[in-house]
């Protein structure tokens, strides 16, 4: 049970972690992340890398959709922009990987800003459709701009190397992707302690009133698009390095729906939600695979239904959470926490 947490300055009350307990938990989490590679096998490390990449993309989408209220179905395509940029730089200039990753994010940001232009004219649902259009146009470019993207055959990318070690397998790649994810999450959390984050939420809740109160809608909507695309670009670049090859099929519309589902399932407008949603949605297909393997004991070609079952489950998760738990896993987490705050005096 926790009782009051007195503070002496308002600055202390504005901190990211406001209680000593929160700091302690954050420390425990970091320690666990640092220790994990020494105890886990490659499969688990592979999963954590994949989760991390997804969490970055989901965080970006959450900034745009969950916090700013602009639905986007283009996040996967922006990841593609980041991935192709990284691949091209890696194969043509040989510049170091941090530069490539940043460049990929910046190019994705630029594309995201252009794709966000319709948001200046249209709201909500029209915008979602505009992002579908942008996504199709980008996929078309991935397929047809042969000289850069190598068309449908795709491109291979050499793994990045740091301090002479090739970050080739999950056990080494872990040390790149996890710290990047932690930093990206902290940056996004910081944003919502400031005027910019508040402006985003105000636009989501009541855009016209926000404008009357001094929020420049076009500016902040585009900024949100840009941030979201930056995160997508970073995730895409890491994806390219992690899997070592990309092609236009790597970033389909279905992946954008997957990322949107992660935002909804995790919790719109919550950083914790981005993390929980990213973890949950990455693990669901894995769990399904075990389930199907198990079914395979009893029925023939059970593995053939894996992909459609996954599609159905993604859809059901979106519908189910929107209907029954619109605030997502983050809200369930909060409920559990509240229970323990008062425990054992109230049940």
């Amino acid at each position: 049970m926790r009782i009051g947490s007195p503070k002496e300055t308002y600055a202390a009350d504005e901190a990211l972690f406001r209680t000593r307990t929160q700091w302690a938990w954050f420390g425990v989490l970091l320690a666990a992340l640092a220790g994990f590679p020494f105890v886990a096998n490659l499969y688990w490390l592979y999963l954590v890398c994949l989760v991390s990449i997804n969490v970055i993309a989901v965080t970006g989408l959450n900034v745009l959709t969950g916090y700013t209220g602009q639905v986007s179905l283009g996040q996967a395509a922006f990841m593609g922009v980041g991935a192709y940029t990284v691949a091209w730089l890696e194969n043509h200039t040989g510049s170091p990987f941090p530069v490539n990753l940043l460049a990929g994010s910046v190019v994705a940001t630029g594309v995201g800003l252009i794709a966000g232009l319709p948001s200046l004219r249209v709201k909500g649902l029209y915008l979602a459709i505009a992002t579908i259009a942008a996504s199709f146009i980008l996929l078309f470019i991935f397929k047809n701009w042969e000289s850069v993207t190598n068309g449908t055959r795709g491109i291979g990318i050499e793994p990045p190397s740091a301090f002479g070690v090739a970050l080739e397998n999950p056990d080494t790649f872990y040390w790149l992707v996890v710290p990047v994810t932690v930093v990206m999450l902290l940056l996004a959390s910081n944003l919502f302690r400031t005027r910019i984050g508040r402006a985003f939420i105000a636009i989501r809740d009541r855009d016209i009133s926000a404008s009357v109160l001094g929020i420049d809608l076009p500016r902040y909507k585009l900024m949100s698009f840009g941030i979201s695309a930056f995160y997508a670009g970073m995730a895409g670049g890491l994806y390219a390095y992690f899997f070592g090859s990309i092609n236009p099929e790597s970033f389909p519309l279905l992946m954008s729906i997957f990322l949107l589902a992660a935002v909804i399932v995790g919790g719109m407008g919550s950083m914790l939600g981005s993390i929980l949603g990213g973890i949950f949605m990455t693990l669901v297909p894995e769990l399904l695979r075990y389930g199907i393997d198990f079914l395979g004991l009893f029925m023939e070609n059970a593995s053939a239904v894996l992909s459609p079952v996954r599609t159905v489950v993604f859809g059901l998760l979106i519908v189910g959470f929107l209907l029954f738990e619109p605030l997502g896993l983050a809200e369930i987490w909060r409920r559990i926490r509240r229970f323990f705050h008062l425990w054992p005096f109230r049940t």
Binding site: A11, R198, R204, V212, L213, G214
Partner: protein
């Protein structure tokens, strides 16, 4: 010099004239009330001042400067604060964040600094937090609810948070759209006191739309009466109150004595 001058503003929506050559002058440091029956164009006038509607004709001058061409956020940045008729709080934020949002136009933190929460971001956020606590929360007596989500607050408190948000901007002109509508007597008295304090302690010029005649007569220095998009009377509260044209327009009947009594009755009740 007058703080706000609405000069011959006309506004129409698809053939319906919401405002017809309306001129209103708001003197600095006073409370100007805008009254009139529903649909008379009061909120339309507010929206024309805020910049949400673009009048077809006429000008809006703020502290002598023509702001007709400015967009909403630019007008807010000049110091025009506002509350809304149908409480427009941001439901996904706490009281504190709502009020901090009011200070948006006074801060400059850029994206980069915000992401790292260093330098200007840290300085400005701490600074506006302290200012809000000191100037606004203590004054409006809402410091105990700062961490509450606004959606869960009772109506009267929501209205107060809206006023707090407008004050956090440190406005020079405050537009209040029906500040006491739907409140009980005690809440109305509190709100009237706050409004008078804002005028006297903060030196803010106030333009308010209000249906509660008692409150209008008690606290305003100047009253404008709007009907069918036109100003039909203006002046000191007591002059306007006695104007037969106003009584007729406002209440749509000619039984003058009962109406006078009702007007007086309301003002006694409040």
């Amino acid at each position: 010099m007058s703080t706000l001058e609405v000069d011959n503003v006309s506004l129409s929506f698809g053939g319906v004239n919401a405002l017809n050559a309306v001129s209103v002058t708001v003197e600095a440091g006073g409370i100007t009330a805008l009254i009139g029956p529903n649909g008379a164009g009061k909120t339309s006038l507010f929206n024309a001042v805020s910049g949400f509607y673009r009048p077809q004709a006429g000008r809006v001058l703020f502290e002598g400067r023509d702001i007709s061409a400015l967009r909403c956020p630019q007008r807010a940045a000049l110091g025009i604060g506002r509350t809304f008729q149908n409480i427009a709080l941001f439901r996904g934020m706490t009281v504190l964040d709502n009020v901090k949002l009011g200070a948006h136009v006074r801060t400059r933190t850029g994206l980069f600094s915000a992401l790292w929460y260093l330098g200007r971001a840290r300085r400005e956020e701490t600074q506006i937090r302290e200012q809000i606590e000191r100037e606004v929360f203590d004054f409006l007596e809402i410091d105990h609810i700062r961490r509450h989500p606004v959606a869960a607050l009772p109506y009267g408190l929501q209205k107060r948070v809206e006023l707090a948000r407008a004050l956090a901007m440190r406005p020079r002109l405050l537009l209040l759209d029906e500040p006491v509508a739907g409140m009980n007597r005690e809440e109305k008295e509190d709100m009237a006191r706050f409004i008078l304090d804002v005028k006297e302690q903060w030196g803010v010029t106030i333009l308010m739309v209000e249906h509660d005649m008692g409150m209008v007569m008690d606290i305003s220095d100047q009253v404008y009466v709007l009907n069918f998009g036109q100003v039909i009377a203006s002046g000191r509260p007591e002059t306007v109150q006695a104007n037969p044209e106003v009584i007729e327009a406002y209440l749509g009947t000619d039984d003058m004595t009962t109406l006078r009594r009702r007007l007086r009755g309301e003002s006694e009740a409040a």
